[in-house]
Assembly symmetry: C3
Homo-oligomer: 204 residues x 3
């Protein structure tokens, strides 16, 4: 629930510079908050989660409207930074929750839960970026998807080798994702140079 | 059916300036015409509507081809304006029809029918814009999605509080959406300034 | 399987100039390789193919990683050209296999198998292009989707009028698609001028 609020708010913040109206802001907030989970459920071929729990929709809409009218406040650098951390926590929770759900459904083990964990955590934001005509996080050098992947792989290992630690394991994995992400925000850590394609070196 | 023709034609018109070939024009016409409904059915987890009624595909393809070869005609400003009205009528019918269908399926009430009404009416056009590398309607200041939302909310209220007026209520809602949209086209009404984010005011 | 490798590799090659890191390269390779089939299965409302056969995911990931680290090699013009041919063969196999699957499911005949054949063969690449912020193949003048369409229509005709030739017919259709595509690569054949919209002629 907190994740939904954080996702919707950070979406509105991130498009605010593009001069959107309140309607578009709410649409983008909603897409960011529930888009990843919708994509996951559509791929799993199960009913989308917000069909039964419309509370997620209400929360996302309310958070979007509130953020929209509070943008002059959130414009300040400190608040934005705070939101990066909240977004990091939301991403961690969404990813781990999705990995668990997919594992329970026995779907495409062992890669399925990891892939759909990443899809759930990043799909909404990527859809927002595509609809906003902005570069997706794939082309950013922020450490964003990598901590998610680490956490989802870790949880998959726990679920496979030590299923009795499912509960505490999940919490640890959320913590791992958030810790790496928070460190990346705090010390401004980027993806290292050696991991970028060296095409320039080759004769093209 | 008329909506399908209008959607396919307006899609071909809208990409014609980008110098597409006949094949791409038909693909984009098809996506615009059936994309929104496909997205709705995928989210609803029901068979897509055009699997049983392929007539929609034939109509959309024929309309796309016809429009493609008639582009020199449609290039004239008046014809284009006429198409905006036809598109407005199509959008109204698609949205209301979808809202009704989703309500009947008892899916995510009360927000589900409204959201999927908007998705059905705008999803095809947004997919077309994304594939064409153009800004989506979310960043246009046209009154496009707002009348749809008003109409879908109105129908949801009717279905909830006065289900016995379902039939005439639907017609009224189509009329309301079309009337607002037509007025916006005729008098060139845009989204008002106060509804645009005031980020510029804040210290960023 | 060969198609999956070719798709993943050509995806990594095609984004390599945009300076992506290894993680994003693998994600884009995976999306290109399994995205089209995923879209097809979601529209068909059947379980996605890689849920049961995760080998496709492993192959796509391995091919992406290998290509990423071999980019300085693939940077050479000849290797790239070779990959265009392999990609052409992959596209042909994916399209025909999908057309057959959709026909067997009796889905939206006769247009359904053709449309989903095209979707399967091009959907992954289009998603990759959209996520990479590049123009999709719809706006390229390469002969890419047209041979696919020809092959899928041909197979549909065979399945309808001469179902006893299903087996050899499929092989012929793969050959037809690949032959046209290979000829287009070899002689650098583009979509002819007369098939491009003549909007410029009209008064706009």
């Amino acid at each position: 629930m907190g994740g939904t609020i954080a996702f919707a708010s950070s979406a509105v913040l991130s498009v605010a510079e593009q001069k959107v109206d309140i309607f578009a802001a709410v649409v983008l907030g909603l897409i960011t908050a529930v888009g990843g989970g919708t994509l996951r459920d559509v791929i799993l071929n199960v009913p989308v989660f917000w069909a039964d729990e419309t509370i997620y929709l209400w929360v996302a809409m309310t958070a979007s409207v509130a953020t929209f009218y509070a943008t002059s406040l959130f414009g300040r650098r400190e608040i934005r930074r705070l939101f990066l951390y909240i977004d990091g926590a939301a991403v961690a929770m969404f990813a781990i929750q999705a990995t668990e759900k997919v594992w329970r459904l026995d779907f495409g083990l062992p890669l399925g839960p990891i892939i759909l964990g990443i899809v759930t955590a990043t799909g909404g934001g990527m859809t927002r970026d595509v609809l906003s005509g902005r570069p997706t996080l794939l082309f950013s050098r922020d450490l964003y998807a990598i901590p998610i992947t680490v956490g989802c792989i870790l949880l998959t290992l726990i679920l496979h080798f030590a299923p009795e630690y499912r509960g505490p394991g999940s919490i640890v994995c959320v913590g791992v994702i958030f810790a790496i992400r928070a460190a990346a925000i705090y010390w401004d850590i980027k993806v290292p140079d050696w991991s970028i394609t060296g095409f320039k070196r080759g004769a093209s």
